[in-house]
Every structure is written in C-alpha cells, then in structure tokens.
Amino acid sequence: MDGWIRKLIPPEKQPMFTQELLHAAKTDVNRRVRPRTPEYEGTDFASNITFHEEDTVIAAKAILSEASTSIRQLFYMTRSDLEQAIRNVILWLKQSIFNNDINDRDHHILALAFLSRLCAFDKNGYKQIMLDHGIFEVLMMGIKINNRRASLYQSTLSENMQIVTKTQLAFYTLMTTHLKVPDVEPTVFQFLKQDAIHIVMEILLLSIGHNETIFSFFRQGEAYRPDFCQTRIPGLEKAPYKARCDGVTPTYNIPELAIVVACQLCFGNYPTSERNDTSHILLHNYNIIKRIKFPADPSLDLMSVLKTAALAFGDTDPELCMLYPIKSMDTQSFEMRAASRETVQYMIRKIANYYSA
C-alpha cells in the first residue's frame, strides 16, 4: 500500500510525512467504520483496515467530503472575514514601528509573517486590502529604520543585531510576496511612491560597501540563521534550504533578498534577454540604480554587488543543484533560487553593457 501511494503521488508533490499521512487516513477511515466501543479498545486501527469492504469506501468518501468542504471554506474566505484584522495589524505596525522595545519587534515579526501567510491563501484579494491600508508605507519605513539600526550596530555582535536581521527578513519577505504578481508594474509604482529604490540601494551599500555592517554579504555567517552547516564561499556561510524554510525565514539572506528586489524594481518579474520594452517606471529605477556609488570604497560598483550575489546564488554543492533532493531543498526553494539566479545574471548582462558603453 505504501509503495502504491508513493507511485500515485508525483515525487515533487510528496509531502514530508507521507507515511504519517497514510497512517492517519487509514486510522480515520477505520475509526469511522468501527466507532469507539469497548470491543475495539486498544485496536491498531491503521493496520486493521480492509480495503475491499463497502463500509470502508463509504467512510473514506464521507471524510473526503467533509475535508473538501472545510478546505474550500478555508481557502476562499471572504473579504469581510479578515479585513478588520488586516487593517488593525497594519495600523498597529504603523504606530509601533519606531518603538525600540525588543519584545515589540518580536511581535512585528509575527505580524509581518501573519500578513505574508495571508497572501498565500488569497492571491490578490488580501494584497489589495493591505495596499488600501498602507502596507507599502509600513514596509518602506520598516526597512529604512532597520537600515539605520544596522549601520548603528556595525562593530558589535549582539542580541540587537539578531533581532534587526530577523525583522528585516520579515519585512523583505512581505515585500517580495507583494512583488510576486503577474503584472508587477502597478506594485512597483506603489513602491516607487515610497522611494523604494533608494531604500533598497541603502542595503546594497551596506551589503558590500562596509564589511563591518551586519547586512554585509561577508557578515551573513555571523547573522541570524536557524542552522549553520557548511561553508562554500569564503566568508559566506549558508544553511541548507530546508532548514531555512521553517515558514518564517525565507530561503535568502538579506543582501540576496535586496539584490533580487532591486532587480525586480528595474526589470519586473520575468526578465529575458529578448525583452527591451521596459516601461518608464522600471527604466527610471534602472537609471537610478546603475549609477550607484560606494563612498566607502570607490573601486566598487553595482557590478561588484551583482557578481557577489551571483556567486552566492550559484550553488556548488551537488545536493543543492539536484531537483527534489529530499534533505536539502524543497521544490519551491529550488525554483525561487533558480529564478533569482537568472534575474541577477540578466542584470549583470545589462549592467555590463552600460559600463562598457
């Protein structure tokens, strides 16, 4: 039966706990067939299931029907179900974002994760509610404040540094969630109104211009990560993607995220070598970012940041380069990383033309 289920489900769709799910399903079905009575007390319901009985089929169909109804209700919540919650959370973020209390910042992370997760349920409906209540303003303000905090904690490794990194990851996660739409230009326009490109550029400066800052590519090994396992690039440590995919931490570190967001603000979501018809909003961002200067080290330019990012995205570990390796990366992470790598390489080609001209 177990092997049969494995054949049934495509490998990329197999859940982490197929065995447990199968056991749970068999138990649920058998419990429905044999209600909890003294004669069945202590029975292993999962092992005693008989597949050829009509009762089993009826029970499985009944559970399936209930589960389908529940999941439909869960996935298709109406706007009124959550609008007030979204509005009040954003309002609270606006009020408390300047607060230096570490406990508040823990709650900021939870609030941002709540908003990020809602976006996964209703692709655009909740995003629109968030937009109506000023989420972009909150995001840009939060990232800006964290940039300032990061520059303050340049030379100290402290609890503050960890919490700033975690909060910044939460802000960037929500920002990238909002950028994951088929037509990205209206969103980019909203970000542009909040001066997003300059705020993202601040992080690019921090990512490579000062090796002392906590958002530096070269300090990410010391920054917060769930697990440190292997070092592949000197000075740059990575955790396995699975360890990062704990539902809160994205599969990127902060400079990687900043690079991807900067590219998206310049080229949208789907850059290709054939695409030349960049809109004036994206072109405006591109023209700003390509002239970025690094006052701390004048020999550096945008190309240096992009090449470092490309190095970071280029996984040398064979396990990470395989699709569907059970232990190291899930499909979504793999696809995200591949798309990001392409985006950065496209940006490198564009910038190379600019510098050579």
Partner: protein
C-alpha cells in the same frame, strides 16, 4: 477529605508552598502556577477554612491537568470560564459566547487568547519554532485543525480579536496577545493547507480502490493529484 485536619493556613506557609512549587517546576508548570497564583491567591488567603491537604491536592491536580478553570483576578465577580477545557474540546462556539460576554475585561481576553495560542502549540521562543512545526505537523491533527480554523473563521473570531485589538490599542498586553493569536492561526492554516491535499488524495485512493477491485478489474489506477478537491 472529610478526615483531613481543619488547618488554617498562615500567609507564610502559602508563600513557602508556592516558592517550593516554583523552584521544582519546569517552565510550563511555572507558567501554570503563575497563572493559577494570580487567579487564586486572593481566594486562598481569604479562605481561612481551607486546609493544607486540600490546597496541596488542588495544586497537584492543577499541575497535572492544566488550568481547567481560568478566572479573572477580580475576586468578587470573577468570570470562571473553563477555557482550557473548551479549547481542548475545540468547542469554539461555547468559548466565543463566553468571551464575548466578558469582552470589556482585558484580563479575560488576554487569558483566552494566551490559552488559545498555547493550545495551538506556539512556543514562547518566537519566531523560529522547530518544536512548533514538529508538533503541528502531526498528521492526525490535520483534519481537526482544518475544522478548527474553519469554525473560527465562521464564528468571526478574526473580527472579534481585531475589534479587541482596536478597542485596547493602548493596552500593550492585549495587543501582545492578539498578534500571536493571528500568527498561530495562520501558521496552522498554512501547514494544514500543505497537508490536506495529499491527505485527500490518499482518502480518494482508499475510496476508489474498492471500485477498481470489484467493478473494473485490471484497470490501471490513475488518480489525479488534486482528486481530493475535485469532488
């Protein structure tokens, strides 16, 4: 109990009992004791007719079963809502009616949300929570948790908590209870959404195998991955 000596408990003795319990407890019990202490300390001190054995027994029962009755610190009109029990039974309708009744009492609100969040296994070490993920990934919780999430949405829990958050926006304790509530519910929704589709596919397979074996023998079994949701 009837043979127990009718002892009066001096304040020092109560203090010693609490101190010993706190020293010999783990973090979960400690939280329970603190919670219980806030609720019942006043009653203990006032109730001079209580005896030591009864007190110790009730403490032991409390530590074993959790906060079965969670009441306000306001001794005179303390609303005794069996929150832990209601949440454990997922009797959200009953719980919701109780909480709406005491909507203006921030202590009841905070405790309800805290007990609720704790019952959804959100640890205090936020936001990275391997323990939480491990616990919530237990598959036998999938369907129950889906039903729980749907019940909460249908009952208007989100709106209620959002309203509370708005009304008590100056009260940091209330806001600190509301945000983890939102987070924990959406975390459960998220994990449930990952599990429910394969779970439905397995159920679909179980239910259709009978048809294959009895009606259409030797027919190759092909089941759509999303079959569980197509019906």
């Amino acid at each position: 109990m009837s043979n127990a000596p009718n002892l009066r408990i001096p304040n020092e003795m109560v203090d010693n009992i609490f101190r010993n319990l706190i020293q010999n407890s783990d973090q979960r019990s400690l939280f329970a004791i603190q919670n219980w202490t806030n609720v019942s300390r006043q009653h203990v001190l006032r109730a001079h007719e209580s005896d030591a054995i009864k007190l110790m027994k009730s403490m032991k029962a409390y530590l074993e079963t959790g906060p079965v009755e969670n009441a306000s610190t306001m001794a005179e009109d303390s609303p005794c809502i069996p929150m832990y029990e209601l949440i454990r039974r997922k009797a959200f309708r009953e719980l919701f009616s109780h909480v709406k009744q005491y909507r203006t009492n921030p202590i009841v609100i905070i405790r309800t949300l805290s007990v609720f969040t704790a019952s959804f296994d959100l640890p205090t070490d936020i936001p990275h929570m391997p323990m939480y993920i491990d616990n919530i990934h237990l598959p036998e919780k999938s369907v129950l948790n889906t039903k729980a999430c749907v019940s909460m949405i249908q009952l208007g829990f989100f709106d209620f908590v959002a309203g509370v958050m708005h009304d008590f926006d100056r009260n940091r304790s209330v806001v600190s209870a509301c945000i983890p509530f939102f987070y924990s519910v959406t975390a459960v929704m998220n994990i449930v959404s990952e599990q429910i589709v394969p779970y439905c596919a397995i159920l679909k397979a179980i239910s259709s195998q009978y048809d294959v074996n009895t009606e259409v023998s030797n027919k190759p079994m092909t089941i759509s991955w999303m079959a569980g949701l197509e019906n």
